[in-house]
Amino acid sequence: MAKKQDLSAEPGGTMKNKTGSWRTYYPVVDHEKCIGCGTCDKVCPEGICYKVGKKNKAGHEYYDNDLDYCKGCGLCAEECPVKCIEMKFEEK
């Protein structure tokens, strides 16, 4: 038996689970079409759509997805008001 462990679990520790490996489709954001509204972020069950910190030509701070975790549900693409996200088949 190892030394007594902490029975409580680590906040944010599940970030070790790279759930991106689950997906069949992955989202591709057309940065130029993105209006930076954040809908994708709001509807993402993983919470991994985020502002990259760069602006496109139209001056919008565009979004992207953290593909380490994206499970490919397609909610971002479905709900995007300007349809700037496309779900593509992931070759493995």
């Binding site: 759930t19 397609g74 593509k88």
Partner: protein, 303 residues
């Protein structure tokens, strides 16, 4: 295709890496509940999908103090936490949320929730209602929609799915004379956050029920989680409203152009048997009657 992945710096209070299904409505709603409540919040979570997918020892998705005890007692544990905070004189600056699925709320946990409501303990009770016991494999609960096929109310030749009607949990909450009772769906993300924030300003016990699509349990295309929440509201089947001390204070109107219950039912394979024969069509009509009654009861029609 180029996949220039960089890592998100979102740092939500419910972090990524949880093991819920793709497109999970419950996790989507839960993240917004946590964000709206903020870091000065203690969450007590019942057993269920939300618990197992976010707290696999030794890791957790939660970045706020969070505890799971049992299936039925998140409310009573929350009452104890609220009492402890009151004793420590920290009850004014720390929120307490007890959250459970519909099984933990409508069925096995209902007595304990009623106790909390009766005592008016300073706790927000949140129910993520996906209308069945999803964690154990889609068995019918007191929240299951009439006509839905589940593994314990399967649609068969003799019986077309669940023959019982959904329990009106918000009405039971209102009967406890709560300061705040509200209902919304995961098709109304901003509304979830608004209602959590509002609830946490109200005294004593509060109740928020959120309809959450379950992709395997309702059996629909994962991208429709938000749409189905909207359709549930628009059809009148799932009114989005707030009530303070028993008075309805806000209710989201349904669109002028009628959205039939069929539009909500059709994309979900749990209702597919209803579209096959006359018996099913009769049942859909009954659901439409209930939706129309809701529209009347909550005054949801647009002038």
């Amino acid at each position: 295709m180029q996949r220039n992945n960089t890592n998100s710096k979102n740092k939500y209070l419910l972090s990524e890496g949880h093991t819920a299904c793709a497109g999970c409505g419950e996790l989507l709603a839960a993240r917004h509940v946590a964000e709206a409540a903020g870091p000065n919040t203690i969450i007590l979570n019942s057993t269920g999908c939300l618990e197992v997918t976010t707290s696999q020892y030794p890791n957790s998705s939660w970045r706020l103090p969070w505890m799971h005890s049992l299936f039925e007692n998140s409310s009573a544990v929350a009452s104890g936490v609220a009492a402890a905070l009151k004793y420590k004189k920290q009850d004014k600056n720390i929120n307490v949320i007890a959250q459970a699925g519909d099984g933990g709320t409508f069925d096995i946990g209902m007595g304990l929730i009623s106790g909390l409501w009766e005592r008016k303990d300073n706790v927000l009770v949140v129910c993520y209602d996906n209308e069945a016991y999803m964690n154990t494999g889609v068995q019918a609960s007191g929240a299951t929609s009439h006509g839905a096929s589940t593994t314990t109310s399967p649609a068969g030749k003799a019986i077309p799915g669940n023959m019982l009607f959904k329990k009106d949990m918000p009405a039971i909450a209102i009967a406890h004379d709560l300061s705040y009772v509200a209902q919304t769906t995961c098709g109304h993300i901003a509304d979830i956050e608004k209602k959590v924030k509002k609830a946490l300003t109200m005294p004593g016990a509060k109740y928020l029920q959120i309809l959450c699509g379950c992709t395997p349990g309702w059996n629909y295309d994962t991208k429709l989680t938000v749409k189905l929440g909207k359709l549930a509201q628009q059809s009148g089947l799932y009114p989005v409203f707030e009530a303070e001390y028993g008075e309805i204070t806000t209710a989201l109107k349904v669109p002028k152009k009628k959205v039939s219950v069929e539009e909500f039912l059709k994309p979900q394979k749990r209702f597919k048997h209803l579209f096959k024969d006359e018996k099913g069509k009769d049942l859909i009509k009954q659901l439409q009657v209930r939706a129309d009654k809701n529209i009347e009861k909550y005054n949801l029609a647009t002038e």
